[in-house]
């Protein structure tokens, strides 16, 4: 039996066709909406125009696109023989603003996608306005971002050689205050415990200390038998570096190195989104992947017990926000404003080059590739995290989310598993 379902409120929409067998999900086909052609729009434009155009791929992870785009340009300049050496100040500011965007993403997803759906699924609706919390946190943390980047969404403040802003210590103090306010919000509302104490938690046996909305969510997942639900291939990949994290891939307990050149995309039948694999294998990307590759103790401890199921996946996403907050605060403390913001002369441009930019976006690794001839873009490729997680798969393997949904006991449960990947429909149909 095939059942169609329109999934909404996931950064656009997706249509899922479920094949049901004896009351459980046997297979799922995922399709997305209208293809918008950003890669084609970029052709014949000036290379730096990508810094303005590519953020418009996505309203919620635009900043990651900006940083991937500037990374591709800088890599291309290097390939063309122009040395690009960023000041620490520029590197820290870029990392800071990226961290802010990730936190914004994770917490919006937690309050606007996970909590309402989980309450509905378990019949434990508390009637709280979760979106109010999401909006407050998002407004606070993107304000910290905008102090440096001018605005969010759709800033273009990162340029080859650095950043366009020239902050003062007044700005840095304002940003620090906003990070502190976000930490306070975590303590009082999300984790219900002291932030520093939370960061010390490294084993499942200590998780009962977590209260607040996050604690309630973990409790709901556990008491409704969903902790083990939604397991997938248990293979993870991370290409971006920074934010205190390394790249690599993780299979079973082994972590090894990765190179972007082994990433291959191919078109999928009946879909506007391309599939992507690493050496012909399908991997999960995103916060859980970053935690596994970087061996975050508490996530490893959860994984030992619940594998790559709903509980571990949801935990990893919210948990990453706390590590990012801590990292972001540290970056602000290290800023030396006497360093230059931008080390390249604005008129220094390479004529012909190819470059690759890689960034860890909220949902996982984001790759931009640009090819420039005679000062014009001749080819631009964008590989987004959702392509990794939501493809149809290969002949050997189902896609990551499809595998996770198979075997679930109802369409509602399967849809919830689907949402646990923090699906971005707009990125996928770039």
């Amino acid at each position: 039996m095939i059942v169609k379902k329109l999934i909404e409120k996931i950064e656009g929409e997706a249509e899922l066709n479920f094949s049901m067998h004896k009351g459980s999900v046997e297979d799922v086909r995922i399709s997305f909406g209208f293809y918008r052609g950003i890669e084609e729009i970029l052709v014949n434009k000036s290379p730096r125009d990508a810094l303005v155009i590519t953020p418009r791929v996505c309203g919620i992870c635009n900043h990651a696109h900006l940083l991937a785009a500037v990374g591709a340009l800088e890599n291309g300049y290097e390939n063309a023989g122009i040395a690009v050496i960023l000041s620490n100040k520029a590197r820290y500011i870029r990392e800071f603003t990226l961290a802010c965007e990730l936190i914004q993403n994770h917490i919006k997803w937690f309050y606007m996608t996970i909590l309402p759906q989980l309450e509905r699924l378990t019949g434990e609706e508390g009637g709280e306005n979760h979106a109010l919390k999401a909006s407050y946190l998002s407004t606070t943390i993107t304000k910290a971002l905008a102090i440096f980047a001018g605005q969010w969404p759709h800033s273009s403040y990162a340029v080859p050689g650095g950043v366009t802003c020239d902050p003062t210590y007044v700005d840095v103090m304002q940003a620090t205050a906003l990070i502190d306010e976000t930490i306070r919000f975590f303590e009082q509302v999300i984790i219900g415990m002291e932030f520093e104490r939370y960061l010390q938690i490294d084993s499942v046996t200590q998780l009962h200390e977590v209260q607040g909305d996050f604690g309630n969510t973990l409790h709901l997942l556990g008491t409704h038998g969903m902790a083990h639900t939604g397991q997938s291939h248990d293979r993870f990949i991370v290409f971006g570096e920074g934010l205190g994290m390394q790249s690599g891939k993780s299979i079973a307990t082994t972590v090894s190195r990765v190179e972007v050149r082994y990433v291959k995309e191919w078109p999928q039948k009946g879909s506007t989104a391309k599939a992507v694999a690493y050496k012909d294998r399908i991997y999960e990307t995103g916060p859980l992947a970053r935690a596994m590759v970087n061996k975050a103790p508490i996530v490893k401890s959860l994984h030992k017990r619940y594998k790559d199921g709903l509980l571990t996946r949801i935990f990893a996403r919210v948990h990453e926000s706390t590590a990012l907050l801590s990292h972001a605060k540290h970056l602000l403390q290290k800023l030396d404003l006497n360093e230059p913001s931008c080390t390249l002369e604005s008129r220094l441009l390479a004529d012909t080059f190819e470059g690759v930019g890689v960034v860890e976006a909220a949902r996982g690794s984001l790759i931009h590739k640009t090819r420039v001839e005679a000062k014009k873009i001749t080819n631009y490729e964008i590989i987004v995290p959702t392509q990794w997680n939501l493809s149809d798969g290969t002949e050997q393997d189902r896609g990551v989310a499809v595998e996770a949904m198979c075997g679930t006991r109802s369409i509602e449960e399967a849809s919830f598993v689907f949402r646990s990947f923090d699906v971005c429909s707009v990125c996928t149909t770039q």
């Binding site: 950064e11 993107t142 304000k143 001018g150």
Partner: protein
């Protein structure tokens, strides 16, 4: 609008990045603002109806907020052409707000298929066939993305039944009569024609070399700041003219010049006037403008 009831608000998307949706979520008084309306549907906020209900035409709305560029055929949700859904609600709404440059003029996504993708009532600056039908209730709020407070202002004006003065492109004058240049923290440098020496400096104007379109772009980005703290030009990024019908132009980080003079003049300024003023101020050397404002290692 039923007597005594709150206006019913419906937010629909077509070809979009969701940027306007997320920008609006950063409105600092979002929920007190929304308390003046009955929210029928929104792309990410919990609302009264599901998208399926909306697609099936089960509800009636007073205010229709449109996000995303328009295409008559080929953009479907749940098997229904979104253009027909938009037109269905546009007919019954008392107010149509095109939120963002895509919904207003076509924006970035128009460039993928210029022939078929447009704004709802404008195709760049040209009126589409729908303009005639909807002109009396149309409010254009371009910007890529929309500024949350600009939308908040318009919604509250509607809730309070107050008239909104508009220009020929249906943009509220309160928000779009000023240029982005108005209130820019670099105005002194513009007045004295002092160019910035590159990216990453708080000193100098971005109009002469780095492509800033602030002096001829409609919008109050530097009066009503972004995220309540900053703006592109304040943070050293040129204005890219994202509220204008022809956004995005090309070579956005360079100023197009004729014989060393910016090709596009500040809004409404005759070339001769600009050249005269420039000639005068450039004949003076002002020491203060050649120095850094703050040097930390002194």
């Amino acid at each position: 609008m039923k007597r005594g009831g709150k206006p019913k608000l419906l937010w629909l998307q077509s070809i979009t990045c969701n940027g306007n949706t997320h920008s609006f979520l950063n409105h600092p008084d979002l929920f007190s603002l929304l308390s003046h309306f009955e929210l029928l549907y929104h792309p990410v906020l919990e609302a009264e109806y599901t998208l399926q209900d909306i697609l099936e035409g089960h509800v009636d709305c007073d205010i229709l907020v449109l996000e995303g560029a328009f295409r008559e055929k080929g953009v479907a949700k749940g098997g229904v052409e979104i253009s027909s859904v938009i037109e269905y609600y546009a007919k019954q709404a008392a107010h149509i707000i095109t939120a963002g440059t895509c919904a207003t003029f076509g924006g970035i996504f128009k460039q993928y298929d210029p022939e078929h993708i447009t704004g709802f009532c404008f195709d760049i600056e040209e009126k589409t066939t729908r303009h005639k039908q909807y002109a009396d209730k149309l409010i254009s709020l371009p910007g890529c993305p929309i500024h949350p407070k600009w939308l908040g202002f318009v919604l509250m004006m509607i809730a309070q039944k107050r008239p909104i003065a508009k220009d020929t492109l249906h943009r509220p004058l309160e928000l779009y009569a000023p240029t982005v240049h108005t209130g820019c923290a670099r105005n002194e440098y513009f007045e004295w024609k002092v160019d910035t020496e590159g990216f990453g400096l708080k000193e100098g104007c971005l109009f002469y070399e780095l492509g800033c379109q602030g002096p001829y772009t409609h919008g109050s980005c530097n009066k009503i700041l972004w995220n309540d703290v900053s703006s592109k030009t304040v943070s050293g990024t040129p204005c890219f003219g994202c509220t204008e019908p022809d956004f995005p132009k090309t070579t956005l980080f360079e100023t197009k010049t004729n014989m060393g003079i910016p090709a596009a003049m500040p809004l409404g300024i005759p070339r001769r006037a600009y050249l005269t003023v420039t000639g005068v101020v450039k004949s003076f050397k002002i020491k203060r403008f050649e120095e850094r404002l703050i040097e930390y290692d002194r």
